[in-house]
């Protein structure tokens, strides 16, 4: 990533080779359409090329940062282009063994992963389910409320309470 910030194109290609499977999986999951997901993936790497200087090594592992970046881009596309999206059925997004030599770089920090799962798991099942649906399927409040057949305000209230507890739990783990 440091090399990328200096504008080294071969560095981008290396990163593309190492991360495309994971990042495309994320785009596909959120956008639910191969063509859209491929366009989103292109945007991700072009933007990475232009703005690698935004990456702060002190904050997140490169893959965590890239994963968040890709998901944010895909969500942007979902909201901006009003793509008829939704999650891909799991069978369409066939799991794929990653054969790249940088596979270890693809694992987001294990301790951090364990902590977010622990904190999410501490929420009640219903709230957890809605937060997961928002994360994995790119659902909006309105879509979640409709799916659960509850008023919009109820859904917002559930999720906000959940996010508040999640934040408290994550902050407690940072302080520890």
């Amino acid at each position: 990533m440091v090399r990328l910030a200096q504008g080294d194109q071969s560095a981008l290609e290396e990163i593309y080779r190492a991360t495309r499977v994971k990042l495309f999986g994320i785009c596909l999951r959120i956008l639910g359409d191969r063509k859209e997901a491929e366009d989103a993936l292109q945007d991700v790497y072009i933007n990475l090329w232009q703005r690698a200087d935004r990456y702060d090594p002190a904050r997140a592992s490169p893959i965590a940062w890239l994963a968040a970046f890709a998901r944010n881009r895909a969500i942007d596309r979902l909201r901006t282009g009003k793509v008829r999206g939704g999650a891909v059925p799991v069978e369409e997004a066939a799991p794929l063994a990653d054969e790249t030599p940088l596979a270890d770089m693809l694992l987001v920090d294990a301790q951090q992963a364990a902590q977010i799962h622990k904190c999410l798991g501490a929420l009640d099942d219903r709230t957890q389910g809605h937060i997961r649906a928002a994360f994995f399927e790119g659902k909006t409040y309105a879509q979640l409320a409709e799916a659960a057949d509850v008023p919009l305000g109820t859904m917002k209230s559930w999720i906000r309470r959940g996010l508040q507890r999640l934040r408290a739990c994550l902050e407690a783990s940072e302080a520890a």
């Binding site: 194109q9 290609e13 593309y16 495309r20 499977v21 994971k22 495309f24 999986g25 994320i26 596909l28 191969r34 997901a37 491929e38 989103a40 993936l41 072009i46 090329w49 904050r59 997140a60 965590a64 994963a67 968040a68 944010n72 881009r73 942007d76 596309r77 909201r79 901006t80 282009g81 009003k82 008829r84 997004a93 799991p95 794929l96 987001v108 951090q112 992963a113 902590q115 977010i116 799962h117 999410l120 928002a134 994360f135 994995f136 659902k139 909006t140 509850v150 008023p151 919009l152 305000g153 109820t154 209230s157 999720i159 906000r160 309470r161 996010l163 508040q164 999640l166 934040r167 994550l170």
Partner: protein, 259 residues
Amino acid sequence: MSAPEDTVPEDGVTRDDPMIAAEWALGLLEGEELLAARGKYTTDPAFAWRKEWWDDWFAPLTDAMPGAEPSGHVWVGIAARLAAQQADVAAPASDAPASNVVALEARVRRWQWVAGLSSAAAAVALAWLALAPDSTVQAPPTQIAAAAPMVATVPIGETGLRLDVTYIPESEKMLVAAIGLTADGVHDHELWLVPADGSDVQSLGVVAPGTVRAMTLPAAVTAKLGDGAGLVLTREPIGGKPDGVDAGPVVAKGAFTRV
């Protein structure tokens, strides 16, 4: 179940900035709220920090998303776009003295400075940026063409009111000034980019009446933002055009030109 939304208690959850950052990181925001969050991200470091804090924490969840192999043409497309960009950068630079690069950077920095101001002050600064004769930066015309802000004015009917849209190519940031416009409480107005190449119209989101708002544009949008790109404003239900229905009536239009 059938209770109207406003009777549902908030259960003591304050929707402060960290909460909005969380909602955004999770991807829940849309329409006006999404634009507001993007604008705040560019101007409020505490908000930006919290958004990234949530992004970092949520990132491990992506490990549960199955990977997938993109088609080979994706990398070809990326490489082609990089090559095109590098050609753009290289051509003027090859015969331009270093001071032009400095001028270019100054222009970008000045933009960042503008974006960092509060809305009201930004409106004034923007007027200066767009209209004042530029006496401090003496760049040759090619350099100006590369760095010049693009502006579009969208007059609203016979009202004398208008929407001013400014885009700085290098920054990926756009300012939408809707000073003097007021919300009617029944409609929102959504701004659309009409690319000059005839490709699909893209939403730039719902306009916030009475404010100047900075937003960061996705690459899908900036790729289509060039000379002659058009803008149309449509009248929509609150929150913007619903999925699956046609856009509302066009109430105003304009086109981008370089300053």
